[in-house]
Symmetry: D2
Amino acid sequence: KNMSTYAPKGCMAAPFTPFTKDGKDVDYSKFKSYADHLQKLKIPHLFVNGTTGEGLSMTMEERIKTAELWMQQKDKFESILLHIGTGNLKDSIQLASHAESIGVDGIACIAPSFFRANNEESVVSYMKEVADAAPNTPFYLYDFNIMTNVYISVSRFFDLAKDEIKTLRGVKHSSPQLPSLFTGMREHRGYQFMMGTDDQYLAALSLGSEAIVTSAFMAPYFNKIIEAFNSGDLEAARNAQEACQKVVNVRSKYGTGPQSFAVGKSMMPMLDLDLGPVRLPLVSLTSDLAEKLQSELKAVNFFDWVKV
Amino acid sequence: KNMSTYAPKGCMAAPFTPFTKDGKDVDYSKFKSYADHLQKLKIPHLFVNGTTGEGLSMTMEERIKTAELWMQQKDKFESILLHIGTGNLKDSIQLASHAESIGVDGIACIAPSFFRANNEESVVSYMKEVADAAPNTPFYLYDFNIMTNVYISVSRFFDLAKDEIKTLRGVKHSSPQLPSLFTGMREHRGYQFMMGTDDQYLAALSLGSEAIVTSAFMAPYFNKIIEAFNSGDLEAARNAQEACQKVVNVRSKYGTGPQSFAVGKSMMPMLDLDLGPVRLPLVSLTSDLAEKLQSELKAVNFFDWVKV
Amino acid sequence: KNMSTYAPKGCMAAPFTPFTKDGKDVDYSKFKSYADHLQKLKIPHLFVNGTTGEGLSMTMEERIKTAELWMQQKDKFESILLHIGTGNLKDSIQLASHAESIGVDGIACIAPSFFRANNEESVVSYMKEVADAAPNTPFYLYDFNIMTNVYISVSRFFDLAKDEIKTLRGVKHSSPQLPSLFTGMREHRGYQFMMGTDDQYLAALSLGSEAIVTSAFMAPYFNKIIEAFNSGDLEAARNAQEACQKVVNVRSKYGTGPQSFAVGKSMMPMLDLDLGPVRLPLVSLTSDLAEKLQSELKAVNFFDWVKV
Amino acid sequence: KNMSTYAPKGCMAAPFTPFTKDGKDVDYSKFKSYADHLQKLKIPHLFVNGTTGEGLSMTMEERIKTAELWMQQKDKFESILLHIGTGNLKDSIQLASHAESIGVDGIACIAPSFFRANNEESVVSYMKEVADAAPNTPFYLYDFNIMTNVYISVSRFFDLAKDEIKTLRGVKHSSPQLPSLFTGMREHRGYQFMMGTDDQYLAALSLGSEAIVTSAFMAPYFNKIIEAFNSGDLEAARNAQEACQKVVNVRSKYGTGPQSFAVGKSMMPMLDLDLGPVRLPLVSLTSDLAEKLQSELKAVNFFDWVKV
């Protein structure tokens, strides 16, 4: 693997993890059809076992098996970036080591949200231990401060981490602060700053971000934004971002914060691909609410956008 | 005045209010020279008595006198938007009425930060009373949630305010959330969404924002960003935004939150225009710190940018 | 006045400010009957123009006039502590000076909530300027961090303020953190730490706080808590605190944060003393909601408690 | 086991988990000597694998083994309450089931901090699944909102949980809001509300809380507070709480929030019982800082208090 050149561009989709009806087990039978679906959506890259995938609600065994099953679908994608962050260092080290053994293209790690690091130094120390367990695999920080409540300067993280973490390649910047993304990008050329918030992608593009990580079904919006932006048609890009924003605004009526991921998963059956419920403490939408959501999504043309 | 067409474009500068050495009085002798300086910086519009101007640290008498003195300098600018927000409704009503009497181009009003409104409805009710006191003057909401801790949906404010506030023209959106700015702009065409955060202007431009309100001395950066962006030279726009970001990052080492305005004012003597101290509870930089700040600003070429 | 011995004990009531029906003016006709009502409730001390009194929603002229009218009722109370905090230093200095001229027993000052101080030093500097304008009047810090968003260490404030503010006598500690109150009390003997949150008074008593500042109509609860606690009947004190807590819990259903003061004022007509509406951005309860509130208050025996 | 009568009273100590020097493994050799030490401190109850014990930084295997080793020391204590909360439901279910199999006196469970529940209903659903895996073991909610950022009404949790969770016995209330503790206690007689914040114990006692969960070495302070309070010597109780507060204040200079647990563990070698480092992202104090801490602790007589 050429560490210094791994740099996924464009749309990276974060798949949900298919669960059985009672939510108790991963539904291993769904990976192939889901991968086919994603391929049809023209999604080049996957971000596996992240927040959308409810990685942190899965057991170690499930994390490992799920990673392996996605790797079996690898030929349908350009690359797979595996999230190996958990609530504790030892588990993440084990997942990092496993990730390297199965040949993922890169790993990403989030900081724990319970024992929250209180400065960049301790995040670097933590991430170094994780990254060192996969010495031949590109490493990404997964920064998502509104979920973890760990608020650090991403740019300062890179200042400190560059020498410490040999495999450091970039960050999945799901924290919404664009000046943090921008400062990082400009001060740390050569590293990759991927945007992780759906409703700020055009803005991030204008600042120079090369990749966006998003719920898989939003890919058509971002492919359009990228295409329009790159061809110089700013108004078309704004229209696509507005269409995306409308979906975000509709979704936010049905759940915000962590619960927004439950809303997202509730949209899969509307795309004829039931991936099961979310796991507690997230709560799947009732069928009544799901129906209302569907009709609101229809009103903003969501289903036309994501038709494949 | 043609209410429906007032729409300042490009750079709107928020001047500091000149205070006497002990901070106890407005230094009325400085307005002319300061206005000349601003004119040289090619600043088309002024936002008077806002946060940068420490409007909320001034007495009613000072607010009124300062507004009048800026109006005497009016011929040097395309327009003057006057902030008439205070901590209480009656004072703001009085200032709104005075504003109309002196012929400002528009007024803006912030929500109180002590008795914080807890929904959009009460903000609309409050602003309606203020706007009605200046029935022939374009009205702008001044939304700055990180200062007031009043968090509302700006878009919903417009939904409700459109019919209630006849003079409604737009918002000075100093709250940093871009999706709020963008949703507002797209859902409420015809109203004006002015961005008020220095470090997100390129992003706001890409989304379609037509005006930025900023500390006066940052105008050269924004004039450059606008020019480069409009001519399609995105990399030049990014470089200018990066240069601006560097200034923001340097400043933030010397004071964040409300204190950042004290840091800004401490920069004026470096531009050969001493506008006096800030008022408590803000604290002016010690001369030692101001010296360090100056040398850091020099290192990021600030003084080359703002040379007039 | 003997500065070093002013130390109101027991219940200090914060009266609402009577407004006319449209909320536009202070209703100066109500002060006498309201004072009589308060006297019947056996309230020894008044805290005038504070948060309950919507001091920060009043103009300077109204603040001054209201202070004077309460002073005309002075013979019905042991002491009157006047809040002279505003959004800006100059206004507070003027109010402090006026307060001394009319002979109040003490003054209290809150820190501005818009230009928020970012450390204890700047709060001390600010308060010193205010206190110095009333050099013969006992001075209290009014600390209420959940309203102002100014979070300081009260104990550290006293460390720094002791030598600076000659008239310093204590703090109205409306911030809810008891360890802050307790640390302050123990480290700064001789100063007075008055508790300002209804639902923690028994706890504050057990820690040694000698006075509580509360909405006037809650006085009977606190008189009972104090009496039971002092006579060693802890279970009776708990029962009274529980009765108080029930009122707090009912009220919180109708409005929290700043809006809770609107709920309180809506309770006055239920006590046959209509003091008018609250001022925007607070919103008075609709008559429907007020009726529901009344019936919930009845269910927790509020009207039996406050019968005079 | 008599579910309805398990109700530990007085001091419940939360032991640290001994780690090896490099922090990589649990140091299983230390449990006996540590248990002896705790016994000498006259600690009746243990709260194992909680926040102090860094339970959430341990692997499943370590959690299980540690629980078993503490159970081997069970004869030195009146009861052992085992924390089985993790970041995800399946792991907590497994730990609950194991807990019952080894005969702990009770289990407690915290809500996940990454996928944060957004209402009481989902916390109840989550906890029910966990509790049902140990159908013969008393169950406690572990509410610690400043660590998890899950802010619920504890009282409403009990309203909803009473019928759902057959084994519900109480709450370890480490959230600092006393009105929440008090409302819960009064509205839900028969359940147990244990206080979990060192610096509010006297206050909680006055409100009627029967048990406190604390870092083990603070037990002498609480034993004294309880004894003095029960014998009616309030001033002695305040003095002991003040002595405790001084330790809290000293500790807070060396680390706040999650890092405060690192400071606590750094105090163990000062008591001649080195339990190893904390785990990343917490950071053990440098020896320099530990020395300074020790001398500050000496100055507030900590070592006299905890001498056994």
